[in-house]
Symmetry: C3
């Protein structure tokens, strides 16, 4: 598999990793199939959303922060139960169609790494599976 | 890849696309593997849920509308930040097992296209990857 | 495909199925690719989260119960609309990278079956798709 390095600088942060994911596909020239993008961390997640207006990212981050606040009622001793819950709500993987070596995304779609317990040094793993 | 056309008539709407997805598989007769169903839009999503009682759809749509209301506090200029957030909560893809050309679903499962910013003309993309 | 049997004893319950999933992979020795883990039920789901401190499971279950309560305003006649909604929020499948026959998980990641309408006898389906 391929690996991408991601460095976050805040507790909650959304990073566009679209171009890094596309770069990993360059070795699969002209092949079609499926790409699995996987986050091996439990206080982070992956999502796909608009990459044109940055307010989409900030509205999404703000909403998640209000939906799952850092509630003292959580029992997880590390104090980051909210980060784990947000990770599960978003999910730890995204799957994409690849055609002739190219990642197939909608016009406005970008791939986002969602940090919920940074700042940290993170990894994203990728596996390409050809259809023939 | 294959493409399905979906036409929505309301701002928020849940459409059963199960039979359209199954129809796309008819060319893969007798092959087994994995089917990726992908939504290329950022204000819509895909989910899998009960397709027997229509109240499941309406309860799910009603809940999401209350969870992420059209809040004026959102900053995204197009006024559809709630649609983008609902899209990320549900996710833009679903993956399915295929055996001998047949989509493997549980007894009560249907595949739903979830419109959060219609009415619109939409697409759903499909990629089948055989296991051998 | 492979099948795992899961038995739940409460209405809402989170079960670690990581070792059962890994056991199913033992027949794929030394092959690399992608593993699809699929829940064929509409009042249950699958997630990936920390498997070290059990409080992560209980905090996650508690949060979901408060987010989607058993609200009498739901119209679904079976009275388990909340279970269906929680299933869609978590999702019915998870995809994983496999390298040389081994499931690739992050240090703290476990795979969880999430029961939202038990106690029940449940199944989880698995499909491995090799990359070559």
């Amino acid at each position: 598999m391929e690996k991408i390095e991601v460095k976050t600088s805040q507790r909650s942060q959304i990073l566009d990793i679209t171009s890094q994911v596309q770069a990993c596909l360059s070795q699969q020239t002209k092949k079609s199939g499926m790409l699995l993008v996987f986050c091996p961390h439990t206080t982070a997640g992956l999502t796909v959303n608009e990459n044109a207006d940055p307010s989409v990212k900030s509205d999404m981050g703000g909403f998640l922060g209000r939906l799952v606040p850092r509630d003292p009622a959580f029992t997880h001793a590390e104090g980051n139960a909210d980060s784990h819950i947000k990770g599960s709500l978003l999910g730890c993987s995204q799957t994409f169609i690849v055609e002739r070596g190219g990642l197939q995304l909608g016009t406005w779609q970008g791939i986002y790494f969602m940090e919920f317990d940074g700042p940290r040094q993170r990894e994203v793993w990728l596996q390409f599976v050809p259809k023939d």
